[in-house]
């Protein structure tokens, strides 16, 4: 068990609390810096998707995890960022212009979406954000002079200060990693300042936040704007990674994937957003594996147990048909969410904390340490 002896207020403020953090994050960075040279192009590409999803995860964490406002519309913010990038790039602007522009524009849209949040709570806010997402999807499909409608838009390689950064290059990998790191540091800074604490205050008790001088409306709009702006930045990277964007890429399912990122990761800290992003990006290859390899493996297995050749083939075809059924991905996502909400509401990061504490306190770990306490007394909510 590590006890930190504090002798200075600086120690409450700094981001890396002790020497162990320097070691572990240093090691993580070394691995991430070496990774593109060591792993194949497929895994490198998956890592880039992890970074992009993690940026969105951080954005959503600010809004959902820290401010307590729901949103099932983040695919729309991603789309706005992506389309701003594609449109401005087609007009000949370089990356260093349209990247911030996408962030700012998405942030403004986010602030506008945040205004209804001043009056809406819980599930009603979710409904409002879903309808916002549908509106954006529809606008993208219909506003053909700007978005080329359902034909979609081609996105060329990044021109960054005269350098061409193609979407499969290691430079693109480092660009995404760098932006993710900057977003994380910015968010951590925000969360150790008055604004971040105001977000937490709004999440836990609006009444108390109000009476402590937090202007609820202003901070909710802020939270929406910041979250949207970060998602817009991720949208630009997403557009470049995909190299082609069309309205049907930014559907409700994508928004739900983003929500899953933070539910699976654990909606109470930035670690959760990263872990969730890793999980979600890796689900796709797992489903592909389920489809391609598992039926053959089971068929071979049943042959080994003396099942006839015809029967084995029948099993393989049957399983293949099941695993390649349309909508399987959605069903698996649904199942994963339900399992996490039921058995691990604190997500992967919560599980990690439990494991860590188990070894720190060994053999004294108490199972109830992380059990959520139910409060039965709440004074009247002045909503």
């Amino acid at each position: 068990m590590r006890f930190i002896f504090k002798t200075d207020y600086e120690q409450d403020i700094k981001l890396l609390q002790h020497g162990g953090h320097w070691w572990s994050y240093g090691l993580l960075f070394a691995v991430l810096a070496a990774a593109p040279y060591l792993v194949g192009s497929y895994l490198q590409s998956q890592l880039v998707f992890v970074f992009i999803y993690a940026i969105v995860g951080v954005a959503l964490m600010i809004l959902v995890g820290f401010t307590g406002q729901g949103s099932i519309g983040h695919a729309a913010f991603l789309a706005i960022g992506a389309y701003t990038a594609a449109y401005l790039q087609a007009r000949g602007y370089p990356f260093e212009v349209y990247f911030p522009a996408a962030g700012i524009l998405t942030g403004i849209v986010g602030a506008i979406v945040g205004i209804p949040a001043l009056r809406l709570h819980g599930i009603y806010l979710l409904i409002a954000t879903i309808s916002f997402a549908f509106i954006v999807e529809e606008v993208l499909a219909r506003w053909e002079s700007v978005t080329h409608g359902n034909e979609g838009m081609r996105v060329r390689a990044i021109e960054f200060f005269g350098q061409t950064v193609s979407r499969d290059s290691n430079s693109f990998y480092f660009l995404c990693l760098g932006i993710l790191v900057l977003v994380i540091i910015g968010t951590l800074n925000l969360m150790r300042s008055p604004t971040g604490r105001a977000f937490i205050a709004i999440r836990d008790s609006e009444t108390a936040a109000k009476s402590m001088g937090v202007d609820i409306g202003r901070y909710k709009v802020r939270s929406f704007a910041i979250s949207a702006a970060i998602t817009g930045l991720a949208g630009t990277l997403y557009a470049h990674k995909m190299s082609f964007i069309s309205p049907e890429m930014f559907t409700l399912l994508l928004s739900i994937e983003f929500i899953m990122v933070i539910i699976i990761g654990g909606a109470f800290g930035l670690h959760g957003a990263i872990l969730g992003a890793i999980f979600i990006v890796m689900v796709d290859p797992l489903i592909t594996m389920l489809k391609d390899d598992v039926p053959g493996m089971i068929a071979a297995f049943s042959r080994g147990f003396g099942v006839g050749e015809d029967a084995a083939r029948a099993i393989q075809d049957r399983l293949y048909a099941i695993f390649s059924a349309p909508g399987l991905k959605g069903a698996i996502y649904g199942l994963i969410i339900i399992l996490f909400v039921l058995f691990e509401p604190l997500g992967l990061y919560g599980r990690w904390l439990k494991i860590k504490l188990y070894f720190q306190l060994f053999p004294l770990y108490k199972r109830a340490t992380f059990r959520r306490q139910k409060t039965y007394v709440k004074s009247e909510r002045n909503r």
Partner: protein, 252 residues
């Protein structure tokens, strides 16, 4: 003029008159207690002072300024802080960050400065932190700094809520039943702290309380309410002897 004045204040929910034409004055540096049976309108008055409820009629004056129209989030920066009857803390945050939220009305840093954590933000954070430490020292919360509220016992939460209110450096503090749910020992501590808040910190206290022994020990003046109306005002002893108060509590 008076320090804090409530003038003809009413709050009606439809036909129900929760608070009915209540007027009183609080002098600077005193402990003023509102008593009354359940549903007498005590907390409603508090909620109107902290602007969570809109008064049906009447006005509130603080330091000769009409605060009836001030939005709720500006009340704290005017120097009025409050606690809640059933504890409204930020449950999933540490005691420290709860107390730092209490400093919110004193923060002057801009959003972009915070995102980059500029030197001025760092300086402000340290200043807030040392102010919070003073309050921690004052209320003996040293053992709980890093603890998450959700895991703390009720008595400690009650003190943390008082601490959060003090962190905003108020001139007037509203305590909604500071001793409810506390045991005898904790109530004793609370009564010492309330007197210290008045004597050492020079903060005027407006309090709602049911525990008459605590009321007698700390209050300078007492106001008794029943069914939203004032039935008596004066020293604790006078009010307790008042026939209408006896009738309200014991039945006529």
């Amino acid at each position: 003029m008076s320090y804090f004045r409530v003038d003809n204040l009413s709050l009606h929910f439809g036909g129900l008159k929760a608070v009915d034409a209540v007027s009183f004055e609080i002098r600077q540096g005193e402990i003023f207690t509102i008593i009354g049976p359940n549903g007498a309108g005590k907390t409603s008055i508090f909620n109107m002072i902290s602007r969570l409820y809109e008064p049906t009629t009447g006005h509130l004056f603080f330091e000769d300024r009409d605060i009836t129209e001030v939005p709720p989030h500006q009340i704290a920066s005017m120097g009025i802080a409050r606690t809640f009857q059933n504890i409204e803390l930020f449950d999933n945050a540490s005691v420290l960050s709860n107390l730092l939220v209490g400093r919110h009305c004193h923060s002057r840093t801009q959003l972009w400065q915070e995102i980059m954590f500029m030197p001025n933000v760092r300086r402000a954070e340290k200043a807030h932190r040392s102010k919070v430490e003073e309050v921690i020292e004052f209320l003996d919360l040293q053992a709980y700094r890093e603890k998450i509220i959700a895991g703390l016992p009720y008595g400690v939460r009650k003190v943390v809520e008082l601490a959060r209110a003090l962190c905003s450096e108020p001139k007037l503090i509203l305590l909604d039943e500071p001793s409810s749910g506390l045991n005898v020992e904790e109530t004793d501590d609370m009564s010492f702290w309330i007197r210290d808040i008045k004597n050492e910190l020079g903060i005027t206290v407006l309090m709602v309380e049911h525990d008459m022994s605590l009321v007698n020990r700390v209050s300078d003046r007492v106001l008794a309410l029943n069914y939203g109306r004032v039935i008596a005002e004066g020293t604790p002893a006078d009010v307790q002897r008042h026939p209408d108060v006896v009738a309200a509590y014991l039945g006529a």
